[in-house]
């Protein structure tokens, strides 16, 4: 029985084999191939099979179609028509401006409105009375200065308003060149370059010099995202910086990295808490381990030092020992934009490689003249800065005595951050509440987050601080919380009240404001 079942199969196989043989013999040149294979076989079937596999592999490779390349096709997701329809049906448009939640509405309502030009004693719209302004950045009292205004108006009449182009493309005129020269002379560096937007200055300067493969060691209090290898050291802790540099040196040696550029990025006075870097030690560490120093002097330029030249004047360090000094003309000089000062080569490199310099419009001529005039006023009347320092000293001497707050700012810093002394722990979070524990092991340099994280409830602390601010406004003092965009950083700065001392406010007014503030703080925070 099996024979008869399998017989048609055998017949079929024999028939197909003979058909293949006949058709193969009919091909031209098939006899040559058969003869060649027979003669090359030479009783070595293994080798023949290997060669046959090679030939089949080559033919298969030739017949394959081309795949997508890395750069274009990699992230392309293929949807079926059904999936596309589903996604289209599911989609509902979101409003362009989402409605505010309760906290955001309260935030918006807490912003006071002033009437008239800004100054040290503006008139409040809500009460109609004047208030002492300790919230605006008016450190040298240049805001609303008449001389600056006159010069700016004359430039406006002569040059018009806008620069009509990027600085490298017909946007530069003699006012910009004068300002660059003034800044360089003021700081004592070889040259300076100005950027038209203060916030984008540092994010143009760093990528102009630090490329893929370079090493940047940045302070945890100043976080930026870079393409280079970034290591972090603890906020304002130079011992931690030295440890990180040594670990990087060890890594370079063991893993045989190529010799690349190395940078330290830190701020002169940190915006988040007003702490000040120890400049001589930074310079010394940079020399020892061969790192270039990028110092962001956004808040120390124009406020620190006898004539406002910044950290270099305060610590008596020659400015050419710092490779790049980056600063802001908008914070302290009542102009706009920022600058980067350094050696002539470094500054000229940025004229092509600083992205904001190449692609953004140049700053308007009258604002550049305002900044120039501001520098002129600072150098000619050193009494302005001594007034500012007196005011800072007055504020600190009264505020430091308050028990329930902590002030992380440096005594010479013009921005004074007031934080709650005891952090409010987040409710129901289960996180450890050791607020004062300091880890003895160093934090991991590759991670932005330090080893010992103090957690606190941002919402509760901000609400408490806002009570203080509202009470102060009712009593005629204009202060503000440090406003931040939450949810954008991995390391959130602590909520604080930011007081900006000003030389335009008289010493008497500053004392009055400080004592009123002391009363309010003890009242609101003491009963917490």
């Amino acid at each position: 029985m099996e024979d008869s079942a399998l017989e048609p199969l055998f017949v079929f196989i024999a028939y197909s084999v003979s058909t293949i043989q006949r058709s193969f013999n009919a091909l031209p040149g098939s006899a040559v191939i058969v003869r060649y294979v027979k003669s090359s076989h030479q009783n070595d079937p293994f080798r023949t099979i290997l060669e046959a596999i090679l030939v089949i592999f080559a033919i298969r490779t030739l017949l394959q179609s081309r795949t997508r390349s890395d750069t274009t096709g990699r992230h392309f997701i293929k949807f079926t028509a059904n999936e596309i329809d589903e996604l289209v049906d599911e989609w509902s448009p979101e409003p362009l401006v989402p409605s505010l939640n309760e906290a955001e509405l309260a935030d918006l309502a807490s912003v006071p409105v002033t009437v008239g030009p800004p100054g040290p004693k503006p008139k409040l719209q809500s009460t109609g009375k004047t208030a002492i302004n300790l919230a605006s950045y008016n450190f040298a009292g240049l805001s609303g200065n008449d001389k600056v205004k006159d010069r700016a108006v004359s430039v406006l009449r002569n040059y018009g308003l806008g620069s009509c182009g990027p600085p490298g493309f017909y946007g530069t005129n003699d006012i910009h060149l004068d300002l660059e020269r003034d800044i360089a002379n003021f700081l004592g560096t070889e040259a300076a370059i100005i950027y038209s937007q203060g916030f984008s200055t540092i994010s143009s300067v760093i990528p102009a010099f630090s490329k893929r493969g370079d090493i940047v060691i940045a302070d945890r209090g100043a976080s930026r995202s870079l393409r280079s290898t970034v290591r972090w050291y603890d906020h304002n802790d130079l011992n931690s910086l030295e440890e990180v540099m040594q670990s990087v040196a060890k890594e370079i040696k063991t893993k045989r990295w190529r010799l690349t550029r190395r940078f330290i990025v830190t701020e002169g006075i940190f915006e988040n808490d007003g702490a000040m870097s120890d400049l001589p030690k930074l310079v010394e560490l940079g020399r020892k381990y061969k790192y270039r120093l990028i110092l962001d002097e956004s808040f120390s330029f124009g406020t620190v030092g006898r004539t406002g030249r910044g950290l270099t004047e305060l610590y008596n360090v020659p400015a050419n020992q710092i490779d790049l000094i980056v600063g802001s003309l908008a914070n302290t000089l009542a102009g706009c934009g920022g600058f980067c000062a350094g050696s002539r080569i470094a500054v000229n490199h940025q004229r092509i490689n600083g992205t904001s310099f190449v692609f953004s419009a140049a700053m308007p001529g009258m604002l550049a003249m305002a900044a120039s005039e501001g520098i002129q006023i600072l150098t000619s009347t050193p009494s302005i800065l001594s007034n500012l320092h007196t005011n800072i000293f007055t504020l600190r001497s009264i505020l430091d005595k308050i028990d329930c707050i902590t002030i992380p700012s440096h005594p010479a810093s013009a921005i004074i951050h007031i934080q709650l002394r005891d952090p409010i722990e987040p409710a129901g979070n289960g996180l450890p509440t050791t607020a004062r524990a300091v880890s003895r092991r160093p934090s991991n340099p590759t991670s932005l987050v330090p080893r010992d994280l103090v957690v606190f409830d941002i919402g509760a602390e901000e609400k408490l601080l806002q009570e203080v601010v509202d009470e102060a406004l009712a009593q005629g003092i204009l202060i503000t919380r440090a406003r931040r965009l939450r949810g954008q950083e991995a390391l959130e700065p602590r909520p604080s009240i930011k007081i900006a001392a000003s030389a335009a406010v008289s010493k008497k007014d500053t004392e009055k404001a400080a004592s009123i503030l002391k009363g309010i703080l003890t009242k609101v925070l003491g009963k917490k």
Binding site: T67, R212, G221, P408, V438, E492
Partner: protein, 210 residues
């Protein structure tokens, strides 16, 4: 005066600010290796050069280093150079055909392996790509990483054809066959699409830097 605390009070949000790709890969694998000690495997396969930033930088300018394989005469040069090499090797007095073909075959495999699969990066113009090709061999740079392109097909078929011709003319001597076949295997393995941007690391202790 109150002194600032060293850990100044920071709240952690679950937001991943590190871009996906190289950074997290470096962090997790080197941290893992540090925790485990030296990795136990003898051979490990690791991927290189796949970050989003690398792709962005690569597509900024055409790659002059890899463009020439599609140019005029870049294909003909292979059999031409093989022919010239064979003539030169044959001109050595006392050279036998066996040895000559083996030398030509091995020489071609060695030089093409070194040129296409060992040397990485772009030897000129570091400003135009910013080091985006530093981890990629010439083979991986050709046609921006697409597989089975005409240039790649030619470069796969040439060693195979050279090998078959050389075994034919050495009269199928088994030792010559074995040596030539091993060399061919190395070259073909390196050209496989499955090994695109993969590296074989021997005795990996921690991931090397770039």
């Amino acid at each position: 005066m109150p002194s600032p605390t060293s850990s100044g009070g920071i709240n952690l949000r679950p937001i991943n600010i590190l871009p996906p790709g190289n950074n997290t890969l470096t962090f997790t694998s080197s941290a893992a290796a540090r925790r485990r000690g030296r990795s136990g495997s003898i051979v490990a396969v690791q991927e290189v050069g796949g970050g989003q930033e690398e792709f962005l930088d690569q597509s900024a300018f055409p790659n002059l280093n890899a463009g020439w394989v599609n140019g005029k005469g870049a294909w003909v040069i292979h059999p031409f150079l093989i022919f010239v090499g064979k003539v030169l090797v044959d001109s050595i007095p006392g050279m036998q055909q066996n040895l000559s073909w083996t030398i030509v075959n091995l020489g071609y495999m060695l030089i093409s392996y070194f040129m296409f699969h060992y040397v990485t990066g772009v030897p000129f113009g570091s400003d135009s790509h910013g080091g985006a090709y530093d981890d990629l061999t010439l083979w991986e740079q050709i046609d921006e990483g697409a597989q089975y392109t005409p240039a790649k097909k030619w470069l796969v078929c040439t060693p195979i054809a050279l090998f078959l011709i050389s075994t034919h003319y050495t009269h199928y001597d088994p030792w010559a066959f074995a040596i030539n076949f091993t060399a061919l295997l190395f070259v073909l393995l390196a050209k496989l699409p499955q090994l695109h941007r993969q590296r074989l690391r021997f005795m990996p202790s921690a991931r090397s830097h770039h």
